[in-house]
Amino acid sequence: MPILNSVYRHREAGKTLTALADYRAAGGFKALEHALGEMEADDLQYAFVRSGLRGRGGAGFPMGRKASFLPKDSKLPKYVVCNADESEPGTFKDREIMEMNPFQLLEGLALAGFAIGAARGYIYIRGEYEHQARILDAAVLAAREAGFLGTNILRSGFDYDITVYRGAGAYICGEETALLESLEGKRGQPRLKPPFPAVAGLYGSPTLINNVETLAALPPIVTNGADWYLSMGTEKSPGTKLFSISGHVVKPGNYEVVLGDTTLRELIYEHAGGLREGRRVKAVWVGGSSVPVIGEEHLDVPLDYESLQGVGTALGSGGCIVMDDSGCIVRACLRLATFYRHESCGKCSPCREGTSWFERILQRMVDGEGRMEDFDLLESLFRRVSGKTLCPLADGAIAPIRSAITLFRDDFIRVCQEGSPRPDPMLPATVG
């Protein structure tokens, strides 16, 4: 299926839209003008609900429904927070939007702000994206000067501004309540839910939190109508999604596909240029690293929420990591285990201790010192950690390892006995 670059305007325009004039020429800020001039906040919220847009940060929760959870009668100020922490391994789609099309994100944040009656919007961006944060800073200034942010926006009486807040390097700050803690100037450790952020979020106020890609989809939905968005994709997965694809593919990058329209095989072989000569797909983590891994037998799965769930994995963030048959699955699992051990915030002991055990056991397997009992040991650890933690990070650490052991048991047994020498990587020179 062809790529459809219809939602994110820089893709449609085929160029960077960091200058306000270029974004305007591509249809930018028409949605905000229309909404502020002719729509009630409730109508706008209803349009979000009807579009069926699902959150693109990982969980896939319907965006409009989440917005409708904010209390209407609260005396407290309300906030919109954009989750731009993008740290899920394999994911780099939000980076593209912020780098090439910052105004569409700002317009989406302003629309979301108007729909819920927010006092301010925050973009929490990971500290490593300083370059992108500066692009956003400049865009906020330009949008404010042009009257799209600030007091009495477009003479509508709506006051709203946006703050770009930089993190300082912590994956866990992508989890929404850890993000709020961090934005409040504390250590980024998740909060117990409920209360959910919609009720008690930033500074205890009702807060709507959405991913960059989710918010940036709002302006075209308002301009073209919810029906237009619904007409793309499947019933449960409307619209388009940006997939980041990386690892052992010839043309890594971001591709916008209509959900349900493209198969994983097409994404890998047609859009991402396939693999090196003579190589076959060994393992794919379709939705970032926190999802169960799948193998070659599922390459014909359509890319949408329900089909991916049907083959035992998840769409997640859309960060698709591909490993060919030159790679070692046990080493890949070890690398992910190291990631989660490093990123565990340490608040719950099952996660803090568990992730470090996963790493230790996989390390001895890779070193050829694994024992057959290690399989049972890992499984019993998974059972004791899974579902017993404050946030889903621990389950995200388990999913790729547990699924790999099931799917590639023979490889694990061989590695346990013989160890695994480091395979040759795919170097840039291979790509040319």
Binding site: E88, R126, E128, T163
Partner: protein, 167 residues
């Protein structure tokens, strides 16, 4: 850095936050621009400027990878070692850099002349350009072969430090 300098940095953004505690992170990041890392005095100055206790400020600083509570070299070279980059040769890049700078192959570290710190990073969000490297807080670059990465640090060793960049 002293509390007055930090206050002056915070004053223009103070109104953006309903709770002044949110200023702790911007204050820490600003304080770090002076020496490249945060000394206890810097953290005490942040505490004074924001009105929170030094131990609270230190606990916040210690949580984040990119707030350094120990000295770092003039340039901090962060090598992504997460899965996508590993498949594209980040281990080879990492080892070449550690070897070249004479630092520990497991933990990285700072070269003897104090110019270069080599540290591991988790996924930098540039997996399409793996193996990738971030220098200080500049835009992440890639893809690198081990030889190209060594060339990069050799250039950095000679280049002046961009003091205005947060690291």
């Amino acid at each position: 850095m002293d509390a007055d300098q930090i206050r002056a940095h915070l004053d223009p953004i103070r109104h953006e936050f309903a709770d002044p505690r949110s200023l702790v992170m911007p204050a820490l990041k600003f304080a770090q621009t002076e020496k490249g890392h945060l000394t206890r005095e810097d953290m005490a100055a942040v505490a004074e400027a924001t009105g929170y206790s030094p131990s609270f400020v230190e606990s916040v600083a210690s949580f984040y990878d990119r707030l350094y509570t120990r000295p770092v070299g003039n340039r901090v070279v962060s090598v992504c070692i997460t899965l996508s980059c590993m498949l594209r040769g980040s281990d080879e890049v990492w080892e070449a850099l550690c070897e070249h700078e004479g630092v520990d192959h497991h933990h990285g570290g700072t070269s003897a002349d104090g110019r270069i710190t080599i540290q591991e990073a988790q996924c930098l969000g540039y997996c399409d350009r793996g193996a990738c490297i971030q220098v200080d807080a500049e835009e992440t670059q890639g893809p690198f072969t081990p030889e190209e990465a060594v060339k990069l640090v050799e250039e950095l060793r000679e280049a002046p430090t961009p003091a205005e960049l947060w690291r």
